[in-house]
Symmetry: D2
Subunit: 396 residues, 4 copies
C-alpha cells in the first residue's frame, strides 16, 4: 500500500522530526566524563513539566506499568491499605497490580465513563480514623474511556480530612498534555511514560516523586532494586544512573523538553483542548456520543466514541487499519466492540485531526454506520476556523 499510515491512537503518539533527529546518534558511553553535563539539566528540566520544584523526576527504562510498580514498591509494605477506584481498563490494572504486591485495596467500582469519585474518597478517608490507608490512587486520565478526573479535588479531600496518605497519580496520558501540578496538588508519585505527551518512542517510565514519598520507607517494605528511588536519587545527583540508562531515548527526551518549553505548557494545554473540542464537535455532528458520561469527564487527549447499537466498533477499527492505513484505538475489556477511540495528544495540529476524522468517516461509511459523510469534518472545520489558540487558552 502507498502513503503514510495515520496514527490516531492515544499513544504512542506521532513523533516530531526534531525528536527523530535527536535520537539519530551514535551509541555512547554512559560513563563518559561529560555525560553528567547532559543528564543534570535534563532531569532538572523534567521537573518543570511535572510542575514541581520540591520533588524529583526519575527516568527508568520501562513503561507506565513500571512506573506504577515503582510507586508501590518504594513506599508500601505488604498488607498496607490503598484507596482506589476502577472505571476503565487502566485504573483496573493498577488495582490488580496492588493486589499482586499483597496490598489491601479498597477499590470503588464506578461506572465506565465516569472518573474518580472524590466525594466517596473523602468519605472513606474521613472514616479511616486509624490512617490504615497508606496511599490514594488517582488515574488522572483513563485512556480506555476518555475520561479525565479531578486530581485537585482528591488533594482537597485529603486536606479536609487531614489524612496523611500518599497521593499517587497515573498521569501516563495526561502529563505534558493536560494540566498537572505536582507541587500545588501535593502529588507524591506521578507516573508518566515516554510515548504520550513527551512524543517519544515507548521505552521510558518517567516518575515524579515528592520529598515525602522519597523519604517514606516503611518497616518491612516491599523489596526493589531496578525501580529503587534512592539508588536512582543517589547516582542522579552526580549525573549518572545506577545501571545502564536508555541513552538514545534520553537524547530524544532532551529534544522533547526543548519543544515543550518552546511552545509553553499553557499553550500546549490550550492546543489540546481546542483540538479535542473539534473532535467532540465531529462526534456530535455524526449523531454519536462519547463514552464519557458528562462534559466534565471529557478528556482532552483521547475520545472514546460509542457506535450505535447493532454495530461493532471493531469493524470500524479493522476497516480503518487494513483498508485505509489508519490506526484507531480499540475498546478494551468492558467496552470492547462498543467504542473506538481517537487519540488526540502529543505532536498534533488541525490537519492531523482532520485526517483522523476523515479516515474515521471513511471507515464508518465503509461499514455502513448511519451518518452523512463530511458532517464530522465539517463541524471540526467550522470550529477550528472560528476559534484560535488565544480563544482556546481563554476558554480553558
Amino acid at each position: 500500500m502507498s502513503g503514510f499510515k495515520g496514527l490516531a491512537v492515544p499513544g504512542p503518539t506521532n513523533m516530531p522530526f526534531e525528536i527523530r533527529r535527536a535520537m539519530d546518534v551514535a551509541l555512547e558511553d554512559h560513563r563518559a566524563p561529560d555525560f553528567p553535563d547532559f543528564i543534570k539539566p535534563l532531569l532538572a528540566d523534567l521537573k518543570k513539566v511535572f510542575q514541581t520544584e520540591t520533588g524529583q523526576v526519575f527516568v527508568f527504562p520501562g513503561s507506565g506499568t513500571g512506573g506504577w510498580e515503582s510507586a508501590i514498591a518504594n513506599t508500601l509494605a505488604p498488607g498496607d491499605t490503598v484507596l482506589a477506584s476502577i472505571f476503565g481498563q487502566f485504573s483496573y490494572l493498577w488495582v490488580d497490580m496492588c493486589r499482586k504486591f499483597g496490598l489491601n485495596v479498597d477499590a470503588i467500582e464506578c461506572e465506565w465513563g465516569t472518573g474518580v469519585p472524590a466525594d466517596l474518597y473523602e468519605q472513606k478517608l474521613a472514616a479511616d480514623k486509624e490512617h490504615k490507608i497508606k496511599a490514594v490512587l488517582v488515574t488522572q486520565n483513563e485512556t480506555a474511556t476518555g475520561v479525565t478526573s479531578d486530581v485537585k479535588a482528591v488533594r482537597e479531600a485529603l486536606d479536609r480530612t487531614g489524612h496523611p496518605a500518599l497521593l499517587f497519580v497515573d498521569g501516563v496520558s495526561s502529563i505534558g498534555s493536560i494540566d498537572f501540578r505536582q507541587d500545588e496538588w501535593g502529588v507524591d508519585v506521578a507516573v508518566s511514560g515516554s510515548q504520550k505527551g513527551f512524543m517519544l518512542p515507548t521505552g521510558l517510565a518517567i516518575v515524579g516523586v515528592s520529598r515525602k514519598a522519597l523519604a517514606h520507607r516503611p518497616e518491612g517494605g516491599l523489596p526493589r532494586c531496578f525501580f529503587d528511588y534512592q539508588d536512582m536519587a543517589k547516582t542522579n545527583a552526580d549525573g549518572f544512573f545506577p545501571y545502564t540508562p536508555a541513552t538514545t531515548l534520553l537524547r530524544g527526551l532532551r529534544a522533547s523538553l526543548d519543544m515543550i518549553f518552546d511552545e509553553g505548557l499553557e499553550n500546549i494545554f490550550a492546543r489540546h483542548h481546542r483540538l479535542a473540542e473539534g473532535v467532540r464537535r465531529a462526534v456530535d455532528a455524526w449523531g454519536m456520543s462519547l463514552c464519557a458520561k458528562e462534559a466534565k469527564w471529557n478528556s482532552d487527549t483521547v475520545s472514546a466514541i460509542v457506535v450505535p447499537e447493532g454495530y461493532n466498533a471493531n469493524d470500524v477499527i479493522q476497516t480503518a487499519y487494513h483498508k485505509y492505513d489508519l490506526s484507531l484505538g480499540a475498546g478494551l475489556s468492558k467496552v470492547a466492540g462498543k467504542v473506538f477511540r481517537i487519540g488526540h495528544l502529543g505532536y498534533l495540529n488541525e490537519i492531523m485531526v482532520l485526517q483522523a476524522l476523515g479516515g474515521a468517516e471513511l471507515a464508518m461509511r465503509d461499514v455502513g454506520l448511519p451518518f452523512t459523510p463530511g458532517v464530522g469534518v465539517g463541524a471540526a472545520v467550522e470550529y477550528y476556523a472560528a476559534t484560535g489558540q488565544a480563544e482556546a487558552l481563554a476558554a480553558q
Copy 2:
C-alpha cells in the same frame, strides 16, 4: 507550531520511510570495485518505468530543467526548427529555453486549461514538406494548470504525416504516476525528475532516450559535456558515470524502483486516477471548477482549482501555509491568484488526500470562500468508500 506539515503540492511529493532509510547511508566511493553491481541493475530497472526496452535511461544530477536542456543540446543544432505549444508555465519555459539555445520555435499558443493540440500539430507537420521541423515538444502533464495531454495522438500525427522529427516529452509530473509508454509511443527523449512519481528528494534529472535520439548527432550541433548522452552511455555500460554521481539519491532511487515494482505500474496509475477523482468530486461539491477546461484534460497528478471571482487564491494558500501548516501549490504566471493547486501524486493514500481537502476547507473557510464546510471531504469519502482499487483499474 506543533504537528506535521502537510505537503500537497505537485512535487516534491511525500517521501516514504523506505526511501528515507535507503538514503541513510555512509557516503561511498563511486569508483569502488562493486559500484557497478549496484548501478547496472538500477539503470536496467529504470527502463521498465519508462516502458522502454530499446532505449536507455540516463540519470543526471540536476532537475527537470536539466533534462529539457539535455534533449536540446544532444540532438539539435542552432537554427533548427522545433514545433511546440504553450498552455501553462512549464510548457512556456521549455519553449523559452529552446529560444535561448538559438532554435527556431514554432510555438502554438493555446488557452490555459487545454493541452497539446494534436490536430494543429498534424497540420503543421503535414505542411512541413522539407522536414525543417527537427523536434516536436509535448508537455504530457502541465503542472501549472493540471492538464494532461495525449502523447499518443502526437505520435499518430507524426506517423500519419510520415514526419521524421524527434518527439520530446516533458513527463516530469507524469512518468511513474500516469501511463507513459516510451517505446509504444515512439518517444525519443522523455524527461522526468526525482521528486514526483519517483518520490525522491529533488536533485536528479531522469531522462529516457531512444536509440534514434542517441544516434542523432547533427553537424554543427550544440556543444555539451555535463549532459552528454554519449559520455553517459559509454561509462554507464561499465556501471560507472563520467563524473561524480549523486550516490545518495541513487540509493534512494533503488528503493523507489523496488516500491514501484512491488505495487505495479498499472496499480499505481489506477491509484492515482482514483485519488484524483476524489479531489475532483470535492471541487465539484464546493461549487468550484478546475482550471482544466474539459474532463479529457483532467490530470491525475495535480488539480488546479479556480477560486470564485472576487477572491484571491493566494489568500487560501497563505492561510493554509502559515496558519494550518499545509503547503498548497500556487497559481503561476497567468493564473496567479486565480487558482490554488492540490498535488495528488507519488506516495499517497486516501487519508492523505482527505487531509489535504480538510486543510483546504479550513483555509477556504478562514478566508471566507462560499461553501459548506465538510461537503468536499464528504464527497471524497463517498467516492472512496464506494469504489475500490479494482474498480478504478477497470474504469481507467
Copy 3:
C-alpha cells in the same frame, strides 16, 4: 572538534546502519492487528541466539540489571540461599541485589582477574545435602576485568552432585558474542541486554528462561509484576505484551537478528576471538599485561589492560576521550585507576580494532607511558594479516 568519536567500551557497542535504519520508523500501535505477525517470529528467532529450543526468551524494557532482578523475583523466596562468586564489579552487584531481596547469599570472594571457581562450587553443592541452595549464579563474562568463566563446568558440578538448584547466568556481555548454549548447559535463566552482542541501543533486558524456571514458583515467593515471566509468557503467546513494549527497539532487534543469522553464530564467535587476539598481541607488544590472570580467563569481548606502576589509567582514558575523541572503558571499583578497558564486541572489524589500538597508543604516548609507538598496532596488523576467519574458526 571534527571527526567521528571512537567507541571502544565494552558496551554500548557500535551500531550498524542496518539497525539504525530499522529503527527509523514512525511510532506504531502495539495493539495493531498485525503486530503479532512481527512479534511471534521475533521471539522465536531470539531462542536461536540463546541456543535454546525448550526455553523461552523474554524481552523487557530495561537493562541487564532488570534482567538480574527478573531471575530473582520470579523464582526465589526471601531467605532462600544462592551460591555465587565475586571477582569484579558486575559479579559483585548481582550478589548485592540478591541481598537486597532478602536472599541468603553464599558469595565466594575470588581474586579479580580470575573467574567462577567451578571446583569450589562443586564442593559447596556436594556439601549442601539439604538442597538449601536454590540457585547458582555465574557471571559468564565479567565486564569489569575482561574475564570469561566456564558455564559448562558449573553445569557439570551441578550434575555430578545431583543438585537441583537453578542455574542463573549473567551473559550480558557474552551472549551473541561468545558461545553460550542455554539448553546444552542447562541454564535456567540467562540474562542479556540490547547494547552488547545485539548491537542495539540500551533499553532492553533480554532474558532466556528454561521450562524449569518458568514453572518454578515457590511458596511465599517474591512479588513482581513488571518483570513477571508468566504474564509475559501468556501475552507473548498471542504476539502481544502485558504492557507497552519498546517497539522501536524491537524493530531494531529484528534487524539485529537478521544480521546475526546472516553472519552465523559460529562465525561471530570466531570473529570475536580473532579480533580479541589481535588486541592481546598489541598489549603484549606494549610490554603490558591483562587484568585476566591466565589465558584461560581471557575474554573475547573486552580486555582490561593494566598500566605500569606509577601511572594512572584514568589519565589515558581522559586523554583519549577529551583530546582524541576515543571512549575507552574505565577501571571500576578495586581496579579503578589501574586498568583501562578496550571493548571489542558487537559490530566490529579489523580496522575498527586498529583505530582503537592506535587511539590508545596516542593517549598512552601523550601521558608518557613507556612503549614504542606503533608496536601494538603493528603486532595486531601482523596477526590479522597472518590469520583469516577460517583459521580463527579452527583455533577456537
Copy 4:
C-alpha cells in the same frame, strides 16, 4: 561482513551526524513563502567560505564537472583561447571539456607530481600582447596526484603582465579544506562540490563567481540555460532558484556551514595540515614516497603514495576494500597501478587517520609490500602526540 566501512578516498568524505540529521527532513515546497528566509542567509554565508565579499556563490544540482562547464559556458565564446596546464587526471579533463566547447586551449603538459607552472604561465601571458587568452585555468588541488598549486602566484603573473584574462580555479578538493581566497587572489570563477570540504553527499556544484565574470557576456558566447549565472543571480536575489533546487542537500549545506564557522576556517586549514603531515610521516616511515615531487606540492587533502617497483598498487586497494572494508583511492590514468591514495579531508580527526593508516598497513602487509608493520602508524602517533592544533596553526 561486520563493522563500519572505512572511507579514506579524497571525496566523498565522511559525513558528520550533524549533516545527516539536517538532511533528515520531510520534502518541502521550494516555492513556500518562507523559503527565502532559509536561502538568503545560506548564500550569504557561502561567500565566507570562498573568502569573497564582492562575488557571489551559486549552487547548482550537479558536480564539479558541472561547475567547470558553468565557468566556460557563461563567459567564453567558441574559438576563445584559454591557458591551462595538465599534470593529473582532473586538470586533463577540464582541458578536454574546453576543447569539446570549441575553445582553443594552450595546455602546458607538466610532469605528474608537479603543479601549475606559474612562471611559464607568466611567459605565455606576457607574450600574449593581443590578449587572445580569455581565461587562465588553475587546478588548485589535483586530486589524482595529491598536488597543490599556488593560485596566488598565477594571480601575480596576471597582475605583473597586466593581462585581463579571467582566472578560473578548480577548488573542488581544496575549498573549505585548504586556504582559498577568492577576492584577495582575484579569482573569477572558483569551482567546488558538495562532497569534499563541505562534508555533504555528492550532488551539488558550488561555484564562486566574481563581479567581473558575472558581467562578462561575450558576443556570440556559448549557449546555456541550466548553468546560467544570470538566471541564478536574478532568482537568488529573491531567495529562490530558476528551477527546482536540491533542497535536501541545501538543508545539509546549512549544517555544514554552521560546523565550518563553528570550527573556524583557520582552524580547519591547520587541522588539515596537521593530519596530512601525520600521513606523510607514515609514508616516510614505510620507506615509500609521495607522487608529489617536492614538499611544496604536497597536498593537505590527499596523499598519492607510490608503491615500490614490482608491486601493483591496485592489489593494495583491492585487498583493503574486499578484505578489510577500507576504501582507498586508486591511481588514475598515467599513475594507475603505481599509486594508491589516502584522502584526508573533511570531517576527520587523528583516530580516523590512524584507522586509514592501520588499514593500509594491513593491506600492504597482506600483499607483501616490504615494511615493518606498525612503523607508519607509530610515526603518525609520535607526530600527533608531539604536536597540537596550536603548533599546526603556527607552522602553516
